[in-house]
């Protein structure tokens, strides 16, 4: 059964994925707009706190330059989706990242390679703040990420992450795995809108001049139905709809990882982060997972991929970063980086893995 899907002509599957992305575009735009609203709101409430802390510092007699934050931000290029500036991360005394600066443009497929323990996973995990940087900034879609602020949850919705060990929710069936986040976040957003609508209605009772429009919001039934339909469509596309009602423990590694990928896609992310998505797989299953990632790449998704699959990197990457000792040692298109490596450590690394 699964063999058949894996052997499905690549072109056909690619179409299928482009379709996902096409049909997703509209929803994604809507989702992005909605997220933007929510983030704005979250940041407004956060801004007050920030103001307070600024004042506190002023009380201490320290000078706080007004445009401090903006000075740190690099030039805002419309094409840039993620911008990493002087990122440092230490675990205790162990300094893992020692100043990483780079940008990920929309539609780029950045592959990260490097020896074990060089900080590849740490860098990737800093991108969505699963790991809190010691210093440095990450600007995602024009907004600096702050792990302590509630807006981080909204940003994370737009950053899909795929883990080496799949991390499917063991207590939920496949379809529930995919639906959980869209339903939970959808209902949370709906409740916010409902509250807003309620207070607006109340205000309109007393204030006849209030012209603000009462927001409409979906019902729970609609949210669930939409999530279900989308989940089934995604499963169909990776050829696993017959596994919808199975628990993850009954699936093969390759199936789990493909489901983990569509689980992330169900949130209509703007970027996908992969941390060695095929390292925990039996060799015969690596192909089916890489195939899914490739088609996603062809569909135009922005991606950051940590991998040891050099052949795959050559094929999909638009840019390869070689990380060693916590810094980017080389940053070049794959043909150049693999064809004519400059860095001595990179040469040594490539001679080992190729």
């Amino acid at each position: 059964m699964e063999k058949d899907e894996a052997k499905m002509p690549a072109g056909e599957q690619a179409d299928v994925f482009e379709n996902i992305i096409d049909s997703a575009d509209a929803v994604q735009d809507a989702a992005a707009e909605n997220n933007a609203d929510l983030i704005e709101e979250a940041e407004e409430s956060g801004a007050e706190e920030a103001q307070e802390s600024t004042e506190a510092e002023n009380d201490n007699g320290q000078e706080v330059p007004e445009n401090d934050k903006e000075a740190v931000l690099p030039d805002c290029d419309d094409d840039v989706l993620i911008s990493i500036t002087d990122l440092h991360k230490s675990f205790g005394k162990n300094e893992v990242l020692r100043g990483v600066t780079t940008q990920v443009k929309k539609g780029e497929k950045v592959v990260i390679i490097g020896p074990s323990g060089s900080g590849k996973s740490t860098l990737l995990r800093c991108l969505n703040m699963m790991e809190t940087p010691t210093s440095g900034t990450i600007v995602f879609d024009g907004a600096p990420l702050d792990p302590k602020h509630s807006s981080i949850n909204l940003h994370r919705r737009s950053m899909g992450m795929v883990f080496q060990h799949f991390n499917l929710f063991n207590n939920l069936t496949v379809v529930e795995n995919i639906m959980l986040a869209p339903v939970k976040t959808g209902i949370a957003d709906m409740k916010k809108l409902r509250r807003k609508a309620f207070f607006l209605k109340l205000r309109k009772v007393f204030d006849k001049n209030c012209t603000e429009e009462i927001p409409s919001y979906p019902s729970k039934a609609e949210i669930r139905k939409k999530a279900l339909d989308n989940a089934m469509a995604l499963l169909e596309r990776i050829g696993l709809s017959d596994k919808a009602a199975a628990y993850p423990s009954t699936l093969s590694g390759g199936q789990k990882q493909r489901i983990a990928i569509v689980r992330a896609l169900a949130m209509y992310p703007r970027v996908m982060l992969f941390d060695e998505p095929t390292s925990a797989l039996d060799p015969e299953m690596v192909g089916e997972v890489l195939e899914v990632i490739k088609e996603l790449a062809e569909g135009g998704m922005t991606m950051v991929i940590v991998t040891h699959e050099i052949g795959f990197a050559r094929e999909v990457a638009t840019r390869v970063l070689f990380i060693d000792e916590g810094v980017i040692k080389e940053d070049a298109p794959p043909a150049e980086l693999f064809g004519a490596p400059k860095d001595a450590r990179l040469k040594e690394f490539l001679s080992k893995v190729l």
Partner: protein, 271 residues
Amino acid sequence: MEGPSAFEKFFSDIGRVFSEYNDFLLTGLQNTLIISVGAAVLGLVLGVIVAIIKIAAVNNKKLRIPEVICNIYVGVIRGTPVALQLFIMAFVILAIRNFPIVITAILTFGINSGAYVAENLRAGIQSVDPGQTEAGRSLGLSGSTTMASVVLPQAVKNVIPAIGNELIALIKETSIVSMISIIDLTNAAKLIGSGNNMATYLVPMLVAALFYLAIVYILTFFLRLIEKKLRESEQHISDKKIAKVKAKTERKLARINSAYEKAVSKRKEAA
């Protein structure tokens, strides 16, 4: 033929205990059950709250003070005998005139059992793969949603056996309430037998033992049932199980569809 007659006497004694003292026994049984169930519910609620506070405090500095309180609570309760806790509650803290003494017992055993449940549950939560939390958070779910929808269900599955043991121990521990003059099963048996000679003392005790056994058996039966249900998602499940899960999931999905259709038709009607 002395044997059979001794046997006969024994069984007729049991019959006598049941018929003559059934009021007494039933009161005892009732009190044992009330105290056990009340304490179990209180213990589970307290245990869940304390365990979650302790886990959440790991990455949240604001919870430092609640965490310290929880640590003291668990430490003191686990470090002192429950009999002493019962005395202190009955004769010091809740020594209020006309305060129902059964409630005192429920509170004591509930607070006591909460500490043990909390420790079991905390260990259970920590035994859940951190990757599960990471996956939830990476999708944009909040910490509490991830905890409620992903981590706790898995933790509960892991700790059901330990919590079951705790509940069984609790039921038997309630037998010390005779020290504050509550008539529970054990105390009833003692009172029925008192004044008679040693041999007749035995019969009510055995009857009480049978009651305890029955309660624990029934509880064990239900715990097994829950455990089996929760293990649905585990590896190596049979084809029959897979079909069952499939049917159940399909029913769930069908409910989502029908709820949606209902909502749509309602909206049409309104329009």
